[in-house]
Amino acid sequence: MSDVVLKNIGKTYLNGFCAIPSMDLTIEEGEFIVLVGPSGCGKSTLLRMVAGLESITQGDLLIKGNKVNEKEPADRDIAMVFQNYALYPHMSVYGNMSYGLKNRGTSKAVIAEKVNAVATMLGLEELLERKPRELSGGQRQRVAMGRAMVRDPKVFLFDEPLSNLDAKLRVQMRMEIRQLQRKLGTTTLYVTHDQVEAMTLADRLVVLNKGVAEQIGTPMDLYNKPATPFVAAFIGSPSMNLFDANLTEKGVSLSESLYLPLPHAHRGSIVWGIRPEHLAIVDEQDADFALEILAVESLGAETLVHGVLKDGSVQGKAMVVRLAGPHNPELNSLLWLSAPATHWHIFDAITQQRL
């Protein structure tokens, strides 16, 4: 049975700003859904609507088949982890984790049992008596998750829970969240603007752009078959090389003098793209085009080469190439590249849809 259903959900703020025009999403039981998008696209708004912290101005929200539009957050059987953790500063870790259960009239013995079980799972046994200010950032994060877990809710909601942690801890907590979620099997809605976090955590991703879901699908779907140039640019790092181009009988025309052969081409303006990792260095005679190298970023395992396309025009188009392993090409020299047609992404320039 589907767990959480968003039917034609919309949000217009009191000041008349329409943050979410209309959105449909069906989340299966135990699924890990990540909402991702640039800042201000309405991720938090959507999550808070599911939580009940923001009113729903249009459409229906169903949790386990029940319409919960008008229900208080506490009655929706959800638990939320906030960006700044929002731990009660005057309560101990135990107090923080047990507060929700206490308010629901759970007996002391049951509370103690549940809190202890969760604390063991998260490695918080030693810290139960401490106050939040006596904890490190990572520990606070864990307590915040523990507080959500003890209630054993139907849905977990996370709003950028890792953005206050340092890079290393973030990677570790990311793995932990994923493992815990698998173990508990709780349906999860997770907001982030970090596409790596999104790709690694999600069963399915929702890419939001100005309140509209550009594409919903598995991370690999989105990577291999982005539906729009926006998704193509957003998913993957460094992001896809995208160019405005034309389809002509000679193939894809990136500029007056540069054509990439494509049989049975229609005519029209398109957006043509290829990921940095799909460009390959070849000999001059096999190359599709040449890149003038402007900068090289060596990361050890891979090398990112930034350059401009040598296509005869004065203002070259910027392009990034990602090469495996260390390379040391000379600046301002030419790099001959081939762009295999199997890895092309072509979008209609007008409808912005994948062709």
Binding site: A51, G52, L53, E72, P73, A74, I78, A79, M80, F82, Q83, N84, Y85, A86, L87, Y88, P89, H90, M91, Y99, G100, N103, R104, R133, R147
Partner: protein, 282 residues
């Protein structure tokens, strides 16, 4: 700032000691004066060392009668003062906590207007509205009663404002977390808000207790029955007997007794008080 300059240390200590001496000297003199018999003051100089009548004076004043035309013993007036001071303090804190709670956390029409109206009452302390307030209290038959002593002084814009600032600094996420944890308005108030503002409450308690204890004009006006006299106002009354007959020893003993409770409150709550003024633990 840690500095090690002997001169600076010396001067700052000397200044502090001078300050202490200035403050303590009158208290010392009052203490000494209370131990001399009433007749010792006619001769024109003030004694600087303890006399022999101490126990006797203090006992009379405290348990029998305050003297100088006031027949009630000091302990009764002390009790009156205490009831009034605590009534005012708790009343003010309770009311301003609740009004600040409403103003900060609830959306109701004319919310801001309400706040500004409360804020404007800052301009209307008892002294300004004393005649109409007296009228109201008299009409309600509250002269010579504890209710009459405390009620008109309870509303407090200052405390409301202070709590409003304190509540506003509580992060919105915390409020939402409590909502998700199933805390209704009352639970939230008692479980989250009160404990989080307890240092503020303590600081206010000290300030308001002293304010209440030192009330003079209002009790003077509405108490005509000895049984409701408060300590601070009665001292003035004790001075209004004929010049030659003033029993200074009794007055001094009463004065010292009047100083004790505020001092006790300040010392007792010093730690919380300072914490409340300095940090808010958020």
């Amino acid at each position: 700032m840690i500095e090690n300059r002997p001169w600076l240390t010396f001067i700052s200590h000397a200044t502090l000691m001078l300050g202490i001496a200035l403050v303590a000297l009158p208290v010392w003199m009052a203490l000494v004066a209370s131990t001399h018999p009433a007749s010792a003051f006619g001769v024109g100089h003030i004694p600087l060392w303890f006399g022999s009548a101490g126990m006797e004076t203090w006992q009379t004043v405290l348990f029998e009668q305050a003297g100088n035309g006031i027949d009630t013993p000091v302990w009764v007036m002390m009790l009156n003062s205490l009831v009034m001071a605590l009534g005012i303090t708790f009343g003010k804190i309770a009311i301003s906590l609740l009004s600040a709670y409403a103003i900060v956390f609830f959306r109701f029409p004319f919310r801001n207007l309400c706040f500004w109206i409360i804020f404007m009452t800052l301009m209307l302390p008892v002294e300004v509205r004393i005649v109409p307030t007296y009228q109201v209290v008299a009409n309600l038959d509250l002269l010579n009663s504890y209710t009459g002593l405390t009620l008109p002084l309870i509303a407090s814009a200052t405390a409301t404002f202070l709590f409003r600032q304190c509540f506003l600094s509580i992060p919105g996420e915390l409020v939402e977390a409590a909502r998700i944890d199933g805390a209704g308005p009352w639970r939230f108030f008692f479980d989250i808000l009160l404990p989080m503002s307890r240092t503020n409450i303590a600081a206010l308690f000290v300030i308001l207790f002293i304010y209440g204890w030192n009330q003079y004009l209002w009790p003077l006006l509405i108490t005509t029955d000895d049984a409701y006299y408060t300590l601070v106002m009665s001292i003035k009354r004790m001075l209004s007997v004929n010049d030659g007959d003033i029993a200074w020893n009794q007055i001094m003993a009463t004065t010292l007794l009047a100083m004790l409770p505020p001092v006790a409150v300040v010392i007792g709550m010093q730690k919380l008080f300072v914490k409340g003024l300095v940090d808010a633990e958020k």
